[in-house]
Symmetry: C2
Subunit: 380 residues, 2 copies
């Protein structure tokens, strides 16, 4: 059996104040076209369907069209989980009513424990377990589990799921998380501020395939079958050299066979162009893709009048302008200031931010003692 | 065949800063209990399911529970349309996928023309046509129809629907509109500011039953089978004497048989209490419903310290306080000022508000001429 694994659609995302909805529409049609041409047994979306919990109407209409094409026209089941950008309750409305039509939105823990089972000739029954994105507090609260990190939460959820395993079935997990050691991109939103959001891939070893979402770069981690598809398209300029696409996953009666990466092509690429203004303008006429979304980094060191207007006369979609040549001095100064800040200084800032009052002398001494004791411990 | 007609649930509504979600939950359970006990062939909700286009999560979860009880547990089809408070695209997500499970959310004009047909032994096929709430601009734009008022829009939509009529079926319309001559309540939001929002009931005469939403008072208009169920519960103090409930509609092979009004009972009534502070407090001990949501109108004419605190010691849910006794003087003064304002004064205020500059002398003269000409015309 074959299924498509995709994730991080982020429908409704804005990029430097430009709506990407038309680009997303074009790329999703490539997903639909692939299913139409080759036919697969299921399409999996591993979270961050929308870019925010209350998505704009255009994003809802687009998802509705795509879902109807896949489930209704092409009779292909779609299995999705909410990611950290989605509102689980909002995305999950009507999930119970949609199942019969082959649309499986797994948005709570009770649904997580009832796999979507797909019957195939060549691989028998394949059970898809979806783990709706949830922070450790939710897992602790809703499942009365003593977990305090993302890692512990995932370990607990994987244990719950593995108790449901039916040995006559193959087992696929869908999860939205940050596997420890995997590569980040700039366009992801951290799952946890301050605390650790990393999850050990060991928890996932018992599955035949793990369809991951959250990280925007396609990659596997720990084992070839624990894999990120990466995002639908590029969502930051720093991803300019990444390939975007989806995983075609093949499973047989013995489990994981392999994946094939199916590239997806956005109508506008995201690119960074660096150079002096006049040189960039001069060479634009030979650029085969002048409509791309561009970040232009000007290396001119003198002041320039209206550089954006001049650039847009040849590159209409310049979205951001940087002038590093003029900022070198400032940048270096800021960096050296940051390096000088001690642990005590950072804690003082944090305390002040949290309590609206500064540390007393006594408290400051106590914190200094703790820091010194810790440092002393580290050195031993 | 019998079906329940209800409307204007307004899930997620706040009332004087108090969330009504728990009250709405209790009342909706009465709807579910009725279906469980007596079993009906369908439940119709004629718009304003939610109180706003982006409802709070609690409202989504409540609707999800109710829908799952009705459609899944009780296998009773639910047919709903968006009202002027709902976001049609948002409410309609996944509609295509939900139909098979008996949840019919009719949120666009193409769905409007494909009725939900329910097969019954005693009435044959009953076709439910849902008209999603839409203003004349939408009808004009999406259906290329030359309509400019709500009345013309409804006439056009009814004509489109009646072309789909199958003479072997009974025909039920679900619409969210203001039928001309029907009674308003204070808690409705006008459908149109300035323009006319009234619809002639004549357009509806060709249906066997018309399940209306928008007006919060149960009533029929034009014919016994053109009927509002009224809102799920009271949403303003001025509705204190209204009965709230739903219509049990009976249809046979020959069409409309009749309706029975099934009362729904909110856990807190909404009441207005009027009197002097001390008298209200004294008689509270004999009040059988001290937990009701109250508007208290104090008739004391002297100043009172902390009247709200004193009242809440006996009536914990006093939500609003009025002191007409102390305002009589002011009120009368304002009213007489208002009466003295001429058309010219009102136009000057409007112009200033709209343009941020006063009328010039020349403009003022021109407006006076127009007003005088109009008055002259009226008198003839």
């Amino acid at each position: 059996m074959k299924f498509l694994h995709t994730s991080d659609w982020h429908l409704g995302r804005q990029f430097h104040n430009v709506s990407l909805i038309d680009d997303q529409d074009v790329v999703l049609q490539q997903v639909v076209d692939y299913v139409r041409q080759y036919s697969v047994d299921a399409v999996v979306v591993a979270g961050d369907i929308y870019d925010r919990s209350v998505p704009p109407t255009q994003a809802i209409l687009l998802l509705n069209r795509v879902i109807t094409q896949l489930c209704q026209e092409l009779s292909t089941p779609v299995i999705m989980i909410p990611g950290n950008h989605d509102g689980a309750a909002r995305l999950g409305f009507g999930a119970e009513q949609m199942r019969g039509a082959g649309l499986h939105i797994i948005s709570d823990f009770s649904q997580m424990l009832e796999p979507v089972v797909i019957h195939t000739d060549d691989a028998g029954e394949v059970a898809f377990y979806g783990m709706p994105y949830s922070d450790p507090e939710q897992v602790r609260h809703e499942l009365h589990a003593s977990v305090s990190t993302h890692d512990e939460a995932h370990q607990h959820l994987c244990e719950l799921i593995s108790r449901q395993f039916n040995s006559s079935q193959r087992h696929v997990l869908i999860s939205h998380c940050f596997v420890d050691g995997a590569m980040e991109s700039e366009s992801e939103r951290p799952l946890s501020i301050g605390g650790s959001d990393r999850v050990n891939h060991q928890h996932f070893l018992g599955f035949d395939y793990v369809a991951l979402g959250h990280l925007h770069q396609p990659q596997f981690k720990g084992a070839e079958y624990i894999r990120y598809s990466g995002s639908l398209m590029k969502y930051s300029f720093s991803e300019q050299h990444q390939k975007k696409g989806m995983n075609l996953v093949e499973i047989d009666r013995d489990g994981f066979v392999g994946t094939t990466f199916i590239p997806l092509k956005a109508p506008h690429e995201m690119r960074i162009i660096e150079g002096e203004l006049q040189a960039i303008i001069d060479s634009a006429k030979d650029d085969p893709r002048p409509e791309d979304y561009l970040l232009v980094r000007l290396t001119d060191t003198h002041a320039i009048l209206d550089p954006m207007d001049k650039l847009r006369s040849v590159y209409p979609n310049v979205l951001h302008l940087e002038k590093p040549g003029m900022l070198i001095g400032i940048d270096q100064e800021m960096r050296s200031q940051r390096l000088k800040r001690s642990e005590l200084d950072m804690f003082k800032d944090f305390f002040h931010e949290a309590h609206q009052v500064p540390l007393t002398d006594e408290q400051e001494q106590a914190v200094m003692d703790v820091i010194q004791a810790l440092k002393h411990g580290e050195e031993q």
